[in-house]
């Protein structure tokens, strides 16, 4: 087995991995365990990785470039916004940054993977640190339980994917995506085996993506994890899984289109519907975002039902970029609110946009973006972008299901928005004398993200013509 390694593909991932080690070492040798000590090298590594990625842009497949950029930018927001956990004794900063960056480097490899072994290794590199992150807060039994749920879901999904991969290897005799595509074109292949292999491989990845019926672990994990880790899972980890699924389908399995296309269409429809129905019942902001991220996964994979070429990747990737940014803004703002108020129930968030505009207004903007509703024009435009390939693939029924789900989604996003802009309770319990410095850094991350959403809403072309 010969796996060529090219710097243009592995460079950013390697830089981020080095950053992870530096963050861990700084924390080990620096006498005072402060957050910035490991946070700074992490941010620098992510920025450097981004610069390297942009420098190498011409050598990289466009969709991989876009996905890598989303992963790097998303992780950077997570790292900066995680400052809110500064001085929280139960969170060890060195380990935290090491795990986040290790997972990010796995995510980078995952979207760049062009053979199945790399895919599996990258998948594990993303999953294992993520599991540790979920349960990292010391003495938090809820977090440990969530980490267990996540661990079991992860192991099962990897096992299923491995089974599919081994079957594919058995059928095609190669693990390389191009080789697989060439091998599976052969009509002599035993249809049944190929179908089972393809379905198993996809199912494992869909598990990671949290698509129905493999979504049950998501709400439990997000609710137990530290808020920024939930943000990481819902954006960066989801971006990597989606990128892996789409690349695999379009690059390695285009000739088994008839097998996976109806499957993806049905799963997309079920995922968005179940996710939205689940979100309708939530009265906790993280619970709502967890279920909404299940629903959004449905919108993300819907274009796959019509996807045949690598060009077809642009619609879900553009949608993903906006979804990830909005979700990270929301989670970062919630992390700040949690630090200040200790709860994320709707009753606690009432009137937040009036009492604390720097966190409340970004939450409103993020919710409207996710709902796809003006004034968050970019959310609406990306909804249009994902519906377009579905229509072009002549799946009008799926487009109609998506339309109905836009309505379902609005029902709970609007409820959230209404809570945020409501008149606050008369005796607002929160009166902070002077917010700690770390919260200002996190708030800055939130505001920069919001500024991004506003800029994209004013000028959607900024995203659509720059991400392929």
């Amino acid at each position: 087995m010969n796996i060529p390694v090219e710097w243009s593909v592995a460079g950013p991932a390697v830089i981020v991995a080095i950053g992870a080690l530096v963050a861990l070492l700084v924390d080990a040798f620096y006498p005072r365990r402060t957050w910035l000590g490991s946070g700074l090298p992490s941010s620098v590594a992510l920025l450097w990785g981004g610069i390297e990625l942009i420098r190498l842009r011409d050598d990289i497949v466009p969709s991989t470039f876009a996905l890598s950029l989303i992963v790097l930018a998303g992780t950077l927001i997570v790292v900066v916004a995680s400052n809110v956990m500064n001085f929280e004794n139960a969170m060890p900063p060195g380990e935290y940054h090491f795990l986040v960056l290790a997972a990010a480097s796995g995510a980078l490899m995952m979207v760049a993977a062009r053979d199945l072994v790399t895919l599996i290794v990258a998948l594990e590199l993303l999953s294992l640190p993520s599991i540790a992150l979920v349960g990292l807060r010391q003495g938090d039994s809820r977090a440990i339980r969530s980490a267990w749920t996540f661990f079991l879901a992860s192991v099962v999904s990897t096992a299923i994917t491995l089974m599919g991969v081994s079957l594919l290897y058995g059928v095609a005799g190669t693990l390389d995506y191009d080789g697989l595509a060439a091998g599976l074109r052969d009509t002599e292949m035993p249809d049944g085996v190929v179908a089972v292999a393809v379905v198993l491989t996809i199912v494992g990845l869909l598990f990671k993506l949290g698509a129905v019926p493999f979504h049950v672990w998501i709400p439990d994990t997000y609710l137990g994890a530290p808020v920024m880790v939930a943000g990481f899972l819902s954006s960066v980890s989801k971006a990597a899984s989606l990128g892996a699924v789409l690349t695999l389908l379009s690059a390695a399995l285009p000739h088994t289109y008839d097998t996976w296309q109806p499957l993806m269409a049905i799963i997309a429809a079920a995922t968005m519907t179940v996710g939205n129905l689940g979100a309708l019942r939530q009265t906790n902001a993280v619970g709502m975002l967890a279920w909404s991220s299940v629903a959004q996964a449905g919108f993300l994979i819907a274009p796959a039902a019509a996807l045949l070429t690598t060009d077809g990747l642009s619609a879900p990737v553009q949608y993903l970029a906006v979804y990830a940014l909005a979700n990270l803004v929301a989670f970062a703002a919630l992390a700040v609110v949690l630090r200040l108020r200790g709860s994320l129930d709707y009753s606690e968030l009432k009137g937040l946009a009036r009492t604390d505009p720097p966190t409340g207004v970004p939450l409103v903007m993020a919710a409207l973006t996710l709902a796809g509703f003006p004034p968050a024009v970019i959310g609406l435009v990306t909804k249009y972008v994902v519906i377009r390939p579905v229509i072009e693939g002549d799946h009008v029924w799926l487009a109609v299901v998506m339309a109905v789900n836009v309505m379902l989604g609005l029902a709970y996003y609007l409820r959230f928005v209404a809570v945020l802009v409501d008149r606050p309770a008369i005796d607002d319990p929160y009166r902070s004398p002077s917010p700690p410095v770390s919260i200002r850094i996190s708030k800055a991350a939130v505001l920069i993200g919001t500024a991004g959403l506003v800029a994209l809403s004013a000028w959607p072309d900024l995203l659509l013509s720059n991400l392929p």
Binding site: P374, V377, L380, M407, L410, L414, A418
Partner: protein
């Protein structure tokens, strides 16, 4: 110029929302009235004649999707634009009072500006963005300032809830009405979005001036989307609650402007998707006629004046839908005229019922009592005038919309069967009679009879008089000179783009 006409109310509206603590309600309303008046004047000045696209603005927006910032006024959209800006001015004038919340004025401006944006858009995606933009502000207007007519929060409480701390119960009712309105409309508009994508794929363009034709599925989805907004029976169930629970300006905007987004959309659909629309036109006509009769019957059962007016709107929109479904030039003229006339007449009716609700704390006709002629003479006269205009008295604006609509259906046009169209005319005429009957009932219950004076009896205040006089004058002008609008359409050749292509039956 069009860009300025849209931007001014948007900017002032946003400023009022963010600076709501710095200005008094009275100042805010004055500012709003001035902004809307500026917009109205600009839209009036932009006109370049019926054959041109007036004040066209065409700037790149989203290259990848072919969406452009493409604005302009056409012979079809111009009357809608003027009517919307006019109603916007009057809503702000209405709000010139001490207990007005500045944020409400801001929302009214944003809703008006978004609706103006819908009418001014020549790009389908931009149209859709404006279409959606007005919804959430409207949700807040209904949910926060709306009230339940069953249980008024306090006597003399303006609009039922303009005070800072409204009672809990009416708010819940208003909130569920607002949510139902929003979810219905959003379902419709999501289907509309799918339709737009289908149309854009077939035409490889999003410009309304370039789109010609599309698959039947697109026509069905788009018509469904607009039918919720219009509303056509049986998709109207959100309307009575939303209209009656909303505060006065909310009801006025819903009836005078929001329903027009639906009818204007149907007119667009009939001209950009002629083949597809021809296939669904009989259903549109059927739903319209059922709406005329059904809503007239429903009006008999109403005690709440605002609900009565809300149901009567469904009937008027039925006439408009019938006119559009003929797809003939006279039908389009009837639809535009009917829409604008309904805007000013129902606007006046809702303003006046708002006056009554302000005084008596309820819109229940029995609670308000009889003999308003003696108790509040000018208010009663204005109300009777509006009711008579609404039932279609010749010489007033309501008459021409109905007459032209019946004539369009009688002449059948090219898409409906003759027996079907004539049956529709028969039922519509029955609807006219029923409409007369229920308005006469309302007049009898309120204006006539033995007066029983109440403490709250007060005649029109200055701002109410200004609004009423402006609307009465416009109703009379449109009634005496229908050519102002009808003259925009050459009965032999008119479609959206100005060139008429005959449609195969």
């Amino acid at each position: 110029m069009i860009a300025a006409a849209l931007t001014i109310p948007f900017v002032v509206g946003l400023a009022l929302l963010f600076l709501r603590t710095l200005v008094s309600g009275r100042t805010a309303a004055w500012l709003g009235a001035v902004a809307m008046a500026a917009s109205l004047v600009l839209f009036a000045l932009v006109w370049e004649g019926k054959d041109a696209i007036s004040g066209e603005v065409d700037v790149e927006w989203i290259d990848l999707l072919g969406a452009r910032l493409h604005l302009g006024a056409t012979a079809i959209s111009w009357p809608f634009l003027l009517m919307t800006a006019f109603i916007g001015v009057l809503c702000c004038v209405w709000l010139i009072a001490d207990d007005t919340a500045p944020a409400l004025v801001g929302l009214v401006l944003i809703i008006s500006a978004s609706s103006l944006g819908v009418f001014a858009s020549l790009d389908f995606l931009l149209f859709f963005v404006f279409f959606e933009l007005a919804l959430i502000p409207m949700w807040f207007v209904i949910a926060w300032w709306g009230s339940s007519s069953v249980e008024p929060s306090a006597e003399g409480d303006r609009g039922g809830g303009l005070k800072n701390v409204p009672g809990p119960d009416p708010r819940l009712a208003a909130r569920s009405a607002a949510t139902r309105f929003l979810l219905f409309t959003v379902t419709g508009s999501a289907l509309l979005l799918v339709g737009i994508v289908l149309v854009a794929r077939d035409n490889d363009s999003l410009q309304l001036t370039e789109i010609r034709g599309g698959p039947l599925a697109a026509a069905v989805l788009i018509v469904l989307g607009f039918a919720v907004k219009t509303p056509l029976v049986p998709l109207h169930t959100w309307l009575p609650d939303a209209h009656s629970k909303a505060p006065t300006v909310g009801s006025v905007l819903l009836a005078a402007v929001f329903l027009k987004l639906g009818t204007y959309g149907l007119i667009i659909a009939s001209s950009v998707l002629p083949e597809g629309f021809a296939d669904v036109a009989p259903y549109v006509a059927g739903a319209g006629v059922v709406g005329i009769v059904w809503s007239a019957l429903a009006c008999y059962a109403q005690d709440d004046l605002k609900r009565l007016i809300a149901y009567s709107s469904i009937g008027h929109m039925g006439f408009v839908a019938l006119a559009i479904s003929t797809m003939s030039p006279i039908g389009i003229a009837a639809a535009v005229f009917g829409s604008v006339a309904h805007g000013v007449i129902t606007g006046l009716l809702f303003f006046l019922s708002g006056s009554l609700k302000d005084r008596f704390g309820t819109a229940s006709m029995r609670a308000i009592g009889r003999g308003l002629y003696a108790r509040t003479p000018w208010l009663a006269v204005a109300f009777v005038f509006a009711a008579v205009a609404s039932l279609g008295l010749p010489g007033l604006a309501g008459f021409w919309g109905e007459l032209l609509s019946l004539r369009a259906a009688y002449e059948v046009g090219e898409v409906l069967d003759k027996p079907f169209a004539w049956t529709a005319v028969g039922f519509a005429v029955l609807g006219v009679a029923l409409t007369t009957a229920y308005f006469v009932r309302a007049i009898r219950l309120l204006a006539q009879g033995e007066p029983v004076a109440q403490d709250a009896d007060r005649d029109l205040t200055v701002r109410e008089t200004v609004v009423a006089v402006a609307l009465v004058a416009s109703i009379v002008v449109l009634g005496l000179a229908p050519g102002l609008i009808v003259g925009l359409y050459d009965f032999s050749a008119v479609t959206y783009s100005g060139t008429y292509t005959p449609v195969a039956p």
